[in-house]
């Protein structure tokens, strides 16, 4: 047995632990040459960046929206376009946009035309609504309450014009998350799953599948306790205490949190990662209880568009969604968007007192 293992090990190839590859070797030569020596940039049209180096070199970047999940067809199509009209060098942004760098302005037009002809939009720069950052969803996560790619595709269809134009007061970053873990992160507008019922426990499986103490430890409100159910060791949830967050589900799949009807979608606004003007901000809950309605989630799209266009009409230049609400105030936000304000908007998690108004600062 030990010998057999040794033989098998011998045949296995040991990994080369090379870690993160050096980006320099794949970078556009002008970027290598002017590394750390850029002077300024402007945007000759939506979807195109023009950077000028101290050396006088110039580089144009065409930003292309993609579906993030790419197969050989898409990769070869995009690469053929880049090889024909570009210069063979690309990069991806944090929001899955493809950036194609070229050394001549003359190359920009044909490049854009070729992408458009192939069905790919050019945009996502400056004060546009850029690609929605998304998670994995039903395609390949093991805990999702909804899909991710489908939500993004249907919303980007609706917001297409805002991607290819730059008509927002400032950039708009939308994110989605298909469970309350939120790997989509903070966004100007965030669309996140919000469960509304405690997990349904399959007591026959818990003892075999779950490491019970670590599941107990995982719950943010200490609502889980070990219990004997039908003579078997299992876990019990104090349903009064449970906040339906689903944190127990990944370590213990028999505690099913997802529900076709009761797993809903909630909308959050005002998250901001940048330090520009205000410090970074977390997103705040504004709407909830929206149905998880594939394949196009029309109810979600409606609320997102309502918020987005209210912002577009009312915000000043350079105000992100969060900056805008800080200026106009929450009462006016709810009034202008027509969204209901409820007791659930009042925070009661740790630190909640900081979110209460302890002043006479009131807008009338």
């Amino acid at each position: 047995m030990a010998q057999a293992q040794a033989v098998e090990k011998k045949q296995m190839r040991p990994p080369i632990e090379s870690g993160c590859p050096d980006g320099m070797q794949y970078m556009h030569p002008l970027m290598v040459k002017n590394f750390g020596n850029w002077k300024y940039h402007d945007r000759p049209r939506p979807g195109v960046l023009h950077h000028v180096a101290h050396s006088g070199d110039e580089i144009w970047t065409v930003r292309v929206g993609t579906q993030r999940q790419l197969g050989p067809y898409e990769i070869n199509l995009l690469c053929d376009i880049v090889d024909t009209y570009g210069e063979g060098h690309v990069r991806f942004t944090i929001r899955s946009n493809l950036e194609v760098m070229v050394s001549k302005w003359e190359k920009v037009g044909p490049l854009i035309q070729a992408f458009n002809d192939a069905g790919y939009p050019v945009g996502g720069t400056g004060n546009s609504v850029t690609m929605i950052s998304h998670t994995q969803g039903w395609l390949h996560c093991d805990i999702p309450g909804t899909d991710a790619s489908g939500v993004v595709k249907s919303l980007m269809d609706e917001l297409y014009e805002e991607f290819v134009k730059e008509e927002m007061p400032n950039r708009v970053h939308i994110t989605t998350s298909c469970c309350q873990i939120n790997c989509g992160g903070q966004g100007d507008i965030a669309i996140n799953v919000q469960h509304t019922k405690p997990p349904k426990i399959n007591h026959d499986l818990v003892a075999n599948v779950c490491e019970r103490p670590s599941v107990v430890a995982r719950c943010p409100v200490a609502a889980i306790r070990p219990a004997m159910v039908n003579g078997k060791p299992s876990l019990e949830v104090d349903e009064k205490k449970c906040i339906c967050c689903g944190a127990c589900y990944p370590p213990c799949p028999p505690m099913q949190i997802n529900d076709p009807v009761h797993s809903k979608l909630a909308i959050w606004v005002g998250g901001k990662n940048s330090n520009a003007r205000s410090k970074p901000m977390f997103q705040k809950l504004v709407a909830a209880g929206l149905p998880n309605n594939p394949p196009r989630w029309p109810e979600v799209a409606e609320v997102v568009k309502k918020i987005l266009y209210t912002y577009k009409n009312d915000a000043r230049d350079w105000e992100r969604v969060g900056d805008w609400v800080e200026r106009i105030g929450w009462p006016r936000f709810f009034e202008m968007t027509g969204l209901p304000f409820t007791k659930f908007h009042i925070d009661n998690w740790r630190g909640a007192r900081n979110s209460l108004n302890a002043s006479t600062h009131i807008r009338f």
């Binding site: 993160c20 790419l70 390949h140």
Partner: protein, 435 residues
């Protein structure tokens, strides 16, 4: 939406790539819901999945399972254990719970692979990665996951090893999964951004490649993420998403090109400049002179980047550059979202020794957390539990008023060693003055 349909698709171009024949032997499942995601102007991932299903049966059944999820509004993947030889993490195992209906995609594992720093690729490299993945996996690749990996989605247990062996030979390595150091991210930065105050790529690779063992053999309390942004615009969202955020900044005066400022005012107007630049400064550090030049109170400027972003031709970060390090950012689980806290307000990042210093800092932080963090407790949660002062003592960093928004407001604290602590501050200030 109707307007957007203008974007023409060139059928001739397309047909050269669309599979002419169906090579997969399995008939397609009906996918009436997914079919609805093929219309509309945005590129459709469903169309992409269908093209792949022409080639392989795995994707035929994957589409079937996805449609089933859409119909029942539930997910059907479960985890498990799969790894490549020599590593303990980096693969997200996926076994189907509905394999009886969709047997060909019963194993559909994801490999997390670290992209080149800054996400730079050549078309040659993209094609090479795609070819390798078509050979060993489903062909479907996500550029990129939220943590920053290239996610190669859909392989059988056996083929994960073959695929890894192939790409590892040409310089690619797995990322992290599980309680370990995760794949890091850095912005485009110095490669193509005038705001960049540091060499993001070098910091990124210095940090993550130093902890490669902690990435491939998960043994930490929980996940640990590095992210590097070249300036306070923080394009990598590091304050909110990284346990260890490194952000470029400067400590001397910002560079002002009054000619650029004047040109901006000429083209945008005085009122616009006042309303959008001067009064938007969070610390009132800007003032517009009567002759349309700008005055910066650099001692009050908090390096927020706003005025520099707006007047990109007039204003610039200063020349004495370095980085700020913030520790403890993360998303919701378990105590709620936390942002990183300033631990190092400024450190230079020029010489080899500077890079060595940040590597050491990261090692000290990870060691301290590995020792003191509870199971499944992120670094930021540990800091919250033990208090920032104890954490600083643990990693050997002196307190600094840049670490707080304001001093404590509660009098419920014992002050036994006040005099000694005050003396430490006074000594440090003296040492600084003589240095």
């Amino acid at each position: 939406m109707a307007e957007a349909q203008k974007t023409p698709k060139d059928p001739a171009r397309h047909s050269s790539f669309v599979p002419k024949e169906k090579k997969s032997s399995k008939p397609f499942h009906d996918t009436p819901m997914l079919d609805q995601l093929e219309s509309g102007p945005w590129p459709s991932f469903v169309t992409g999945l269908k093209r792949l299903a022409h080639d392989n049966n795995m994707m035929v059944d994957l589409l079937g399972q996805l449609e089933y999820s859409y119909k029942t509004r539930l997910g059907y993947w479960k985890g498990g254990t799969v790894s490549v030889f020599g590593y303990g993490g980096g693969i997200i195992p996926r076994f189907s719970e509905v394999a009886s209906m969709f047997p060909e995609s019963k194993e559909f594992h994801t490999l997390r692979v670290q992209p080149p720093a800054g996400n730079h690729y050549t078309t040659k490299l993209l094609r090479q990665l795609s070819n390798s993945w078509s050979k060993w996996g489903s062909g479907l690749i996500a550029f990129h996951g939220q943590t920053g990996n290239i996610m190669f989605i859909g392989a059988t247990s056996e083929n994960t090893q073959h695929f890894f062996d192939e790409i590892n030979e040409y310089g690619f390595d797995l990322g992290g999964a599980g309680p370990c150091v995760r794949t890091a991210m850095s912005c485009v930065g110095a490669a193509r951004c005038e705001q960049s105050c540091t060499n993001e790529h070098r910091i990124h690779r210095t940090l993550v490649n130093n902890f490669i063992d902690d990435m491939h053999r998960p043994a930490l309390p929980y996940k640990f993420k590095f992210k590097v942004s070249g300036c306070p615009n923080d394009c990598m969202n590091s304050i909110q998403r990284a346990d260890f955020a490194v952000i470029g900044t400067w400590r001397d005066d910002m560079q002002v090109d009054q000619k650029g400022v004047k040109e901006y005012i000429e083209s945008h107007g005085r009122k616009y400049t006042i309303d959008n630049v001067i009064t938007r400064c969070p610390t009132n550090a800007l003032s517009l002179n009567d002759d349309d030049t700008i005055e910066v109170d650099n001692k009050s400027c908090v390096r927020c980047m706003h005025c520099i972003n707006v007047m990109t031709k007039g204003l610039k970060p200063g020349k004495d550059r370095g980085v700020t390090v913030l520790i403890g950012g993360k998303r919701t689980l378990k105590i709620g979202d936390t942002m990183g806290t300033v631990i190092v307000p400024f450190m230079k990042m020029d010489s080899d020794e500077d890079f060595e210093k940040i590597r050491e800092l990261a090692a000290t932080v990870i060691d301290f957390w590995a020792e003191n963090g509870l199971e499944h407790e992120r670094c930021g949660e540990m800091i919250e539990r033990i208090g920032l002062a104890n954490f600083l003592e643990g990693i050997g960093i002196e307190v600094d008023p840049n670490m707080i928004t304001h001093p404590r407001t509660s009098s419920y604290i014992r002050l036994d060693d006040w005099d000694q602590e005050a003396q430490k501050w006074i000594d440090r200030q003296k040492a600084k003055a003589t240095a």
